[in-house]
Amino acid sequence: MKYAYYPGCSLETSAKEYDVSARAVFRALGTELVDIPDWNCCGSSPAGAVDYLLSLALPARNLALAEQMGMDVVVATCSACYLSLYQVEQHCRRDASVRAQLSEVLGAAGLEYKGKVRVRHMLDVVANELGPEAVKAQQKRDLKGLKVVPYYGCQTVRPYMTYDAPDLPMSMDRLLEAMGAEVLPYSLKTRCCGGILITTAKDVGVKLVSDLLAATAGADCVVTVCPLCQMNLDAYQAEASRLLGRQVNIPVLYLTQLMGLAFDLPEDETMLYKNIVSPRPILDKLG
């Protein structure tokens, strides 16, 4: 099975380990992620705050290119990218005038979006199409004894209820359990990490991150599926520790990194050395 793959801008630099581990995990599962050639930025939430039509046109170019590849499904790893791409389909369906305008804009670039390609989050494909059994079948190392907190973030499951529940999703929980990890209850699993606010309103962002980290007590690591979530939780633990008045030091891994670990993939495919808080204690624990 081949999927058109949309890595998104973060996965080019700050979330390289997510990109590399996702490709490796899909390969191990007997599938392939094929890059959409010459893909562009999806616009993320800033586009929607600046221009509505542009916020649909930017992701639509990528979908048009994926259709040219003859692919049926586009897989997005970043949750913000996933939503931007998915929204194109939804908004075109909701409003015919949007669809007409969009095709005029794409026409200016010599492109056409037919609306045939489906957009899916990487988590959705792994959990619901490939499934926990297939993941288990590739497993070389048991995650038994590892206490994990699954953190889904917001746009992974909202606002469209396509493959999981918007408040209490379970798809990642099921994968982690299948690999033998102990999934701790985490009521903040879809509470927002603050996204870009950590830059534009740092105090507010740090407060959100601190609340999320405070509730992970007792876990060996946090598992995420979004580069914004991962960065915010991984890179601001010093600030969070100051605000909470106690030391927080918990590794924040991408689901695909942890799967890579379970599959016993080589170090240059899990890239655990890229995480800011060292995942060393996890490696030691798993032996």
Binding site: T13, G43, L54, R158, I196, L208
Partner: protein, 195 residues
């Protein structure tokens, strides 16, 4: 949150405001002020008006006070309110519209978020991709250069991990991106003319 009462007799009001800002037109009028949006909002604690209060102000057409509010600039577009609203109002999208409206009217001059979004979109126009370092550097320079200090330790950590790139990747189809930006502007100017 202590609030001064609004003088509805003398306030400037736009009775069609709710229809302008809500993508689902009249639906916003059905808000029953239950406060589920505020209770669900992760950043409500930092807002001047809570999401529920802002909804009421929109209904009342208090556009000046609404557009001057910090509330929607603190919206992270997490959609918690949207999926929980018992009336099915697209609150997040309404807040996105308010960001655009506020920026268009120039009310947001002081909003750092607005500048960030604008710079982000300019970087995308130039390269076809967002480039984290460029976006951050330009935003810091154009808002408050001293802010660089508070991001120094993050920058160092990212640099050490090879997570920061100074080079911008320009896509081959960047002329397509620019043609799309121009076409969007043309369509919007046309619509503005029809109004």
């Amino acid at each position: 949150m202590a609030l001064e009462p609004f003088d509805l007799t003398h306030a400037k009001r736009d009775h069609g405001f709710a229809k302008t800002v809500a993508p689902d037109k009249g639906k916003l009028y059905t808000c029953i002020q239950c406060g589920t949006c505020t209770a669900s909002c992760p950043t409500a604690f930092a807002m001047d008006y809570s999401p529920r209060q802002l909804m009421r102000m929109i209904q009342l057409g208090l556009y000046d006070d609404v557009l001057r509010s910090k509330t929607f600039w603190l919206c992270t577009t997490c959609y918690s309110c949207t999926v929980r609203c018992p009336r099915g109002i697209s609150i997040t999208e309404t807040f996105q519209t308010l960001k655009r409206l506020s920026a268009a009217k120039g009310v947001e001059k002081k909003a750092d978020s607005a500048r960030f979004y604008r710079i982000f979109m300019d970087v995308v126009r130039r390269n076809g991709r967002m480039q984290e370092t460029q976006t951050m550097a330009q935003w810091i320079l154009r808002t408050n250069p001293f802010r660089a200090l508070s991001f120094a330790s993050l920058g160092l950590a990212l640099l050490r991990k090879g997570k920061m790139s100074l080079l911008a990747h320009r896509i081959r189809g960047v002329d397509q991106i620019q043609a799309m930006y121009d076409k969007v502007r043309e369509i919007e100017a046309r619509q503005e003319g029809q109004r």
